[in-house]
Symmetry: C2
Subunit: 206 residues, 2 copies
């Protein structure tokens, strides 16, 4: 640990405008330097290996692999790089899964802009940064009660497909699909397939 005063950053966000804007915002801080920007989850690990940033700021929703899977890969490929998730949706399941994947921090995009640089510095110092209200939500919402198969079926039902279509896509019997759906509906407290999809999505279970 010598006196390297500059924290090197990587930005990953699919919206180029937001990416550039965040870069401009963080570039105003004298102790921060953006060394790489990528627009997809697949490009995160190669960029990390090439530029060796101190902190990687990842969005969750991205083309390719999502930010949570990218977090796990970054942890494995470059353990010295700390990951800070910066996302639009403060879904409880996202926070939980991100932390389990090894993220050091989790910030929602409607936090004040001045706070972001501070979050980056805390993460770099080895501290955890978590939105407090979101952490509470995460506790009450808990882990996903859905089994792997129920998640698959519910995910396939997101686009409004019929039972027959889902069954064909997942190579299952229609009755099985109906059973999984029924179980998922019960577990989510919904009365409906569409409702179940919405609450599961809202909790970050899909």
């Amino acid at each position: 640990m010598t006196d390297t005063p500059v924290i090197r950053l990587l930005l990953a966000d699919d919206q180029a405008l937001v990416r550039g804007a965040l870069s401009a915002l963080l570039g105003l801080e004298p102790d921060l330097e953006v060394v790489a920007e990528v627009g997809s989850g697949d490009a995160v690990v190669p960029a990390v290996l090439e530029h060796r940033p101190d902190v990687a700021l990842l969005d969750v929703e991205m083309p390719g692999i999502d930010g949570i899977a990218a977090t796990a890969e970054v942890r494995r490929a470059a353990p010295d790089t700390r990951v800070l998730i910066v996302t639009t949706f403060g879904r409880p399941g996202y926070l939980r899964r991100a932390l389990q994947a090894g993220a050091a921090g989790f910030v929602v995009k409607d936090t004040p802009a001045a706070q972001l640089a501070d979050a980056v510095r805390r993460v770099h110092r080895g501290l955890r940064v978590v939105d407090p209200t979101l952490a509470a939500d995460s506790l009450v919402a808990g882990e996903s009660p859905l089994t792997a198969r129920e998640t698959d079926v519910l995910r396939a039902a997101r686009d409004g497909s019929s039972v027959a279509t889902i069954a064909g896509r997942l190579f299952l019997s229609e009755g099985t699909v109906r059973n999984h759906l029924s179980s998922a509906i019960g577990k989510t407290g919904a009365t409906n397939r569409a409702e179940a999809v919405l609450t599961a999505e809202g909790n970050g279970w899909l």
Copy 2:
């Protein structure tokens, strides 16, 4: 044209981080100056009246009134202020409705960051700025084929409510709701209520 060299801007976006980041990005340009930032649609017009910006950058999705309705109000309250829509979702219906409401430009958030300042300058000079690929989509998608009532019913069906619930909420008979839904399903080319909701939302018809 050697008049006022500085273009005064207003930023409206519900995500504070994005707002601040855009402010930082645009603040780097010597001929641009952000004079106001707001986080809700309701706050747009008062801020415009107070600060009299040359260009207002509005997001579509915001708490309070949305960016399109805000556009119309800005045009009415301060005709000298030009409006540039900056949004996440490039939905064809958004573009059409924004232009009809009097917006001078429409930019999607995954355009390159360097292009935004240019778009602001073009809008300020009185030019129209529209994403070309989006404009093509807007032409093929066309205006919403849904009647007012069909839109109401479909909007009430977004959260997965049953026919009975929708009927109660809209003070209609269940049969009427089913008819409107059926008509909307036919017009959207869907086979399903959920599918109809998705395609209608994707086209910006809700």
